[in-house]
């Protein structure tokens, strides 16, 4: 099967996932009723659009970061932007009782602060190890501050709201959420896609890439800005959803090859399909409440990596 056919298959999966996301729900309402129209337009359409954009963003950023850092375990969480955006959102929920707009603004402020810190910590050189270390520092710091804020929360109800939000979900997002997040998610994707050719050059090593005219600092800035804007906006509207950026490039690499730029479009499509299908499945679980998407992704991601580990172990002597 050639690349084009595989891409068409992936795109078909995205279309099927989008249709399923529009059709699936806790409630099956009679088509044409006022309630069904309201649910479709106000709830399921924004949910499906956000699932599509967020999944594409997470898949693409995972592929870009794995290529840029030459590390197959890199994902958007590595740069610390999602933890920092989550910190901003948690502060807003606990101490400002923020609604959707306030929460979005606080999360984006957290993401922006993380981007600035990341640039400040790595501007002297484009060393992947320094980049990962800086991201780890940011992620740990933001995680610790989030835990600290929760521990001194003035009331237990706010803590329950925070924990629910941190689990990540696309439930009950509105067209206003789409309007806020979509430009940043799309902008982030465009910036990351621009890094493609440079990522191919980087597979030859930094020295070789420089000799080919690649400006590593510029690529790093693209990666930081693209991931920051996109992942920050994603966290701001949905909470923290992990594993997509890690799993999707791993699954698609054997099908589309190891050249980083060849993996970008497939990863965006694969990420979108994965999030759309996983979010639809979240609604089929029995009971009144939905399984949170962040939880579902962790339940999919952890066994995937266990399988990967067992496969590698079977090749080794132990």
């Amino acid at each position: 099967m050639n690349r084009t056919l595989r891409l068409v298959l992936l795109a078909s999966l995205v279309v099927a996932g989008f249709a399923l996301s529009l059709a699936a729900g806790k409630q099956w309402l009679p088509w044409g009723s006022d309630a069904a129209t309201a649910v479709f337009v106000e709830l399921r359409l924004p949910r499906a659009i956000l699932g599509l954009l967020l999944g594409a963003m997470l898949g693409l950023s995972g592929a870009v970061l794995q290529g840029f850092l030459r590390n197959p375990l890199a994902d958007p969480a590595v740069v610390g932007v999602s933890s920092s955006a989550a910190l901003g959102a948690v502060a807003a929920i606990l101490y400002a009782g923020a609604g959707s707009l306030g929460l979005f603004a606080a999360a984006m402020t957290g993401a922006l602060a993380a981007m600035l810190l990341l640039v400040a910590l790595t501007w002297r050189g484009a060393d992947p190890v320094a980049f990962i270390l800086a991201g780890t520092v940011l992620s740990s710091l933001a995680g610790a501050l989030t835990a600290f804020l929760i521990s001194i929360a003035p009331n237990p109800y706010a803590v329950a709201s925070v924990l629910d939000w941190l689990m990540g979900a696309l439930t009950d997002r509105s067209l206003a959420d789409v309007a806020r997040a979509a430009p940043l998610l799309i902008g982030g994707c465009v910036l990351l896609a621009l890094a493609g050719p440079a990522l191919d050059a980087l597979t030859l090593g930094e020295g070789a890439a420089r000799s080919l005219g690649i400006r590593i600092g510029r690529i790093q800035a693209l990666v930081v800005l693209g991931t920051g804007l996109g992942v920050g906006a994603g966290v701001a509207v949905t909470g923290v959803i992990g594993f997509v950026g890690l799993v999707v490039p791993h699954v698609l690499r054997p099908l589309f090859g190891h050249r980083p730029s060849a993996l970008l479009l497939p990863s965006a499509l694969g990420g979108a399909a994965l999030v759309l299908f996983a979010d639809s499945l979240c609604r089929f679980v029995p009971g009144a409440a939905e399984v949170r998407l962040g939880v579902a992704m962790a339940l999919i991601g952890a066994p995937f990596f266990l399988g990967l580990l067992l496969r590698r172990r079977s090749r080794a002597w132990i």
């Binding site: 806790k26 309402l29 649910v39 106000e42 959707s100 109800y157 706010a158 709201s161 009144a288």
Partner: protein, 219 residues
């Protein structure tokens, strides 16, 4: 006294009264330092903290979270007996019993948001208060076994007669807009947070408020 009693969003007492007493964050050393005659704690307190009380030979009363009016009344008597004032306990129980409305007729479905987007589920004290006040807990109708979040489309498919809350959660505006667009006749009613936190003395004003809301719904 718990530090939550000093927070307007968590207290069940008038704040001015609560702030007359020092609050603790619930650590053993804070409590021990005050040499209380009796420590009233709950089953959700850290096991290490409760073990510390035990090691020091303190008099401890460990309570559960009451899920019914009857259980709350029993707790009132347990605390009153432990504090050596059983007569005051009996008086409070009598006032709770007197506040229970003699509701008959329709039982309008109502959904209560206890905080933000957290809906009060079945099997809670508030659920029992709803039932005794002549209301039906819509969350229990939807199958929400415990307090948690409900997707808006579940609410829109079977809209309750009223939604009770003390302020809006993140999705309140969206919920209202979808309900209006779907043609539902759901009304919003205010139910103060201080009536949601505890049982005992707050049961009386909570029942009165619920009875007033029901009276408006059935009139």
């Amino acid at each position: 006294m718990s530090r939550y009693s000093h927070d307007p969003a968590s207290t069940s007492m008038p704040l001015a009264l609560a702030r007359r007493y020092p609050a603790t964050a619930g650590t053993a050393e804070e409590v021990i330092a005050r040499h209380p005659d009796l420590v009233v704690t709950d089953v959700f307190a850290p096991a290490a903290t409760r073990a510390a009380y035990e090691r020091l030979g303190m008099k401890v009363l460990t309570l559960n979270s009451p899920a019914t009016i009857a259980a709350s009344e029993a707790q009132v008597m347990t605390i009153a007996d432990a504090a050596g004032v059983p007569a005051r306990g009996r008086a409070l129980v009598r006032s709770i019993e007197a506040a229970i409305p003699r509701a008959s007729g329709p039982r309008p479905a109502a959904l209560l948001y206890i905080s933000g987007d957290l809906a009060n589920g079945g099997g809670t004290l508030l659920d029992d208060l709803f039932a005794r006040a002549g209301l039906r807990n819509a969350a229990a109708d939807y199958g929400l076994a415990f307090t948690g979040t409900l997707p808006i489309e579940t609410i829109v498919a079977h809209p309750p007669r009223a939604i009770l809350s003390d302020g809006d959660g993140r999705t309140a505006d969206l919920r209202r807009r979808v309900l209006v667009r779907s043609g539902a006749a759901t009304v919003d009613a205010h139910f103060p947070r201080r009536l949601m936190n505890c049982g005992g003395p707050t049961i009386v004003p909570a029942l009165q408020r619920l009875a007033a809301i029901r009276a408006k719904l059935v009139s």
